[in-house]
Every structure is written in C-alpha cells, then in structure tokens.
C-alpha cells in the first residue's frame, strides 16, 4: 500500500533532475527493484501512471528492472541465485550468507528530452 507515497518521492526526484537539466519532458525513468525491497512492481507501475499526470513526466515510460536475489556465502565463497525466503548457500547450505543483490530500490536513470 505504500507504493503511491514511494511514487511521490520518485516523481519528486525525477522532476528535480529534469529541472536541473532544463528538460522539456521526461522520456523514460528506469528503476531497479529487488524482490526483498518490499515493493510490488505492478502496484508501483499503476501508482506511477496516476501520479505522473500533469507533470513533466506525463509521457514518461516507467522501466522496471527486477534485480535477482543473490547471496554470497561467507563459509565457502560461492555466489548463488536464491528465492527471497531461502537465503542459504546452494553449494554448502550454510546460512552464513551476505545478500549482494535483491534488496535494492533505486532510481537508476532518467532519459530527458532536452532542447539543444
């Protein structure tokens, strides 16, 4: 349910960047989301389509990149791609792992239409 307030922050950041670059409009917005970020991509998309109306980003496409959940084992040093509720090393089954991808929630880049 907090996707809408998240979108508000996202749009704020995007509009600020667009203003800084004196852009006429925003072409696309790329966001990276991990499965452990606690955000539902579909809800983020629908919230964004509501909130962008009447702004510089009105025509912008929201590109969501889903980051895989990857853990690094501190016992045997292997990296494994895992599911969000089983963050164990696939090689040695240790739970002494560190998450190296999967909890991100990042505005990665913004494509702007700028006058020459």
């Amino acid at each position: 349910m907090h996707e809408l307030s998240l979108c508000d922050d996202l749009l704020g950041q995007v509009i600020a960047i667009a203003a800084k670059h004196k852009a006429q409009s925003v072409e696309s917005i790329t966001v990276a989301i991990g499965a452990l970020a606690g955000v539902e991509p579909l809800l983020l998309e629908s919230a964004f389509s509501l909130i962008k109306a009447g702004t510089l980003a009105e025509q912008a496409q929201l590109i969501l990149q889903t980051a895989p959940v990857i853990v690094l084992c501190r016992t045997c040093g292997t990296q494994s791609e895992v599911t969000p509720n089983r963050l164990l090393c696939k090689t040695c089954q240790s739970n002494e792992t560190t998450l190296i991808s999967g909890d991100e929630l990042i505005l990665a880049s913004v494509a702007l239409n700028c006058p020459d």
Binding site: H2, G12, I70, L87, E104, I106, N113
Partner: protein
C-alpha cells in the same frame, strides 16, 4: 539498504542497473538514488535526536493482535522502577493502546495514521517532539500491526523486534521474508496457548527465520504467565548497555539489516550528535 546516492550498486546488480541504451535527441542521466532517500534522511535526523538524548529506541513490528501492547504492559511493569520508558503508538484509528500504556504510568503518544499501513520517519519525527526525550532511557515505537510495509521504513530507531504469535503459524518468516529478515530479535508470543495448538512448532519458526540467513536470537514468551520474560528483559538491558557504550565512543546503533547494507554498499552516514546529559550512568 544505504541512504546515499549510487551506493546501492553492488557487483550483483551492476550490469542490470548500468545498462543504458543511447537514443537520438534524448539525454540519459544516471541517477542511482534510493527511492526512500527522503524517508532515510528524516530517519537519520530522528536518530540524531535519540542519540543526543541517549535513548535507545526499539521498533516493535508484528501482525495485528499478536500481543505487542500486552508485551509492553508486562515490560513496563517489570522495568518502570529502574528505567524511564515511553511509548509511541501507531494505529489506523483509536487511542486504545495509548490509554493502556498510560495506565501503566509511563508517557505515551498516539499516532493515528488514518489509512496508512505503516509509520514513516516523518510521522515519528512529529511524535517525538511531544515526548521529553531527555528524560528517557528507553523508547518503544509500536508500529502499525502489519507484516508487510513497516519493514521498508527506517524510523531512526536502533533495533527491530518482530513478534510472531503462536496462533499465526510457524511458516510466517518464510511467507514474509522482508519483515523477518529485518528482525534483530524475533519474539514468539502467547506461548501459554501452545498446549492447545498442534500445528505450531517454535523450532520450525526458528528454522524458517534462519533460512533467511538471519542470526537473530529467538525468545519465546507469554505476557500472561510470564514465561520467557526474564530472557526478554535481559536482552533489553544488554541492548541498552551496548548502546550506551557505543554512544561513549560517539557511535550509534542501527538495526543489523542496515549495518549489513552499509558494509555492502557504502560508507556509513555522517550522523552528528551531541550528548546532552549523563542521566543513564546507573546503567553503565
């Protein structure tokens, strides 16, 4: 998760995030900013307030009705002679929980969120100016009952405690990994009901937590018959002591999940604070 630009990029996700397709007439600006940066900025500000007043802040999270308020009542009964405690209550409606806490003789402030399903750092900031932080040793924030959203918001607190009541099922950590991964301590509540339930195994619950690569301790307790309360009180007092020791070295405490994020992604934030009093000397 860290709170500054770009530092969320890790070896695992770099190719994904860095991939950019050039297009005619369009300038692509690389941003790499955390979407929660506004909340996280406010949370750091809150933490600086707490650290200046030397008050350990615990964020209590769970489903509705798993016994957060009952735990607080029982805890306050045990500690009100030796510690100065206050509570911030988060609920969609009513001041019922605040009244229960105030009946125990400690200050409580209610945040009614209306329809919002979680507390965020801004709501907590508004609330903390209604409490005399300098007079406190320990502040509990009882989050809105919800196993989903509260986990994503840093409030500026120092420790996350997640409750799981025995009537909810021992697979909750597997079903709600984002929430349970955030726990610095998992409490299994209402153990007085265990004899009536044949489908809840505390060891299964613990195993599901450990499958999330969590090394958080697990304490089973009952606010009703007092079982396990000693272990919980000991955990709390140890946390207060550790926190006070960190403050003496001009450091602060963060929930473990945030520390991991910082080690992984970037340098720790520069939170500056100035201790105002030595009121907790009796604890050190």
């Amino acid at each position: 998760m860290c709170n500054t630009c770009g530092c969320n990029i890790t070896p695992g996700n770099r190719p994904l995030v860095m991939a950019e397709k050039p297009k005619n007439g369009v300038t692509t600006v690389s941003v790499l900013q955390n979407l929660l940066s506004q909340n996280n900025h406010q949370a750091d500000h809150n933490r600086a307030h707490f650290d200046a007043s030397k008050v350990l802040v615990i964020n209590l999270m769970s489903s509705p009705g798993s016994g957060k308020t009952a735990l607080l009542e029982a805890t306050i009964k045990r500690l009100r002679e030796s510690l100065k405690i206050a509570v911030i209550e988060g609920d969609l409606e009513t001041e019922n929980d605040t009244k229960r806490i105030q009946a125990q003789g400690v200050p409580a402030y209610q945040i009614t969120t209306g329809t919002a399903c979680h507390l965020d750092a801004h709501l907590v900031h508004n609330a903390l100016h209604h409490l005399a932080l300098d007079n406190l040793d320990l502040l509990f924030i009882e989050n809105v009952g919800n196993l989903v959203c509260p986990a994503s918001f840093d409030l500026g607190h120092h420790r996350n405690v997640v409750l799981l009541s025995v009537t909810e099922g021992d697979d909750k950590p597997a079903k709600y990994p984002v929430m349970f991964r955030a726990a610095d301590l998992m409490l299994i509540s209402k153990t007085d009901l265990l004899p009536y339930l044949d489908d809840f195994s505390p060891s299964n619950a613990e195993q599901n937590l450990h499958n999330l690569a969590s090394d958080a301790p697990v304490i089973a307790f009952s606010s009703k018959d007092g079982q396990g309360m000693d272990a919980w009180i000991t955990w709390l007092l140890t946390e207060i002591k550790d926190y006070q020791a960190l403050l003496l070295n001009q450091k602060t405490q963060r929930p473990k999940i945030q520390q991991d994020g910082q080690l992984l992604h970037a340098q720790p934030g520069n939170t500056k604070f100035y201790p105002v009093s030595n009121k907790t000397e009796h604890l050190v």
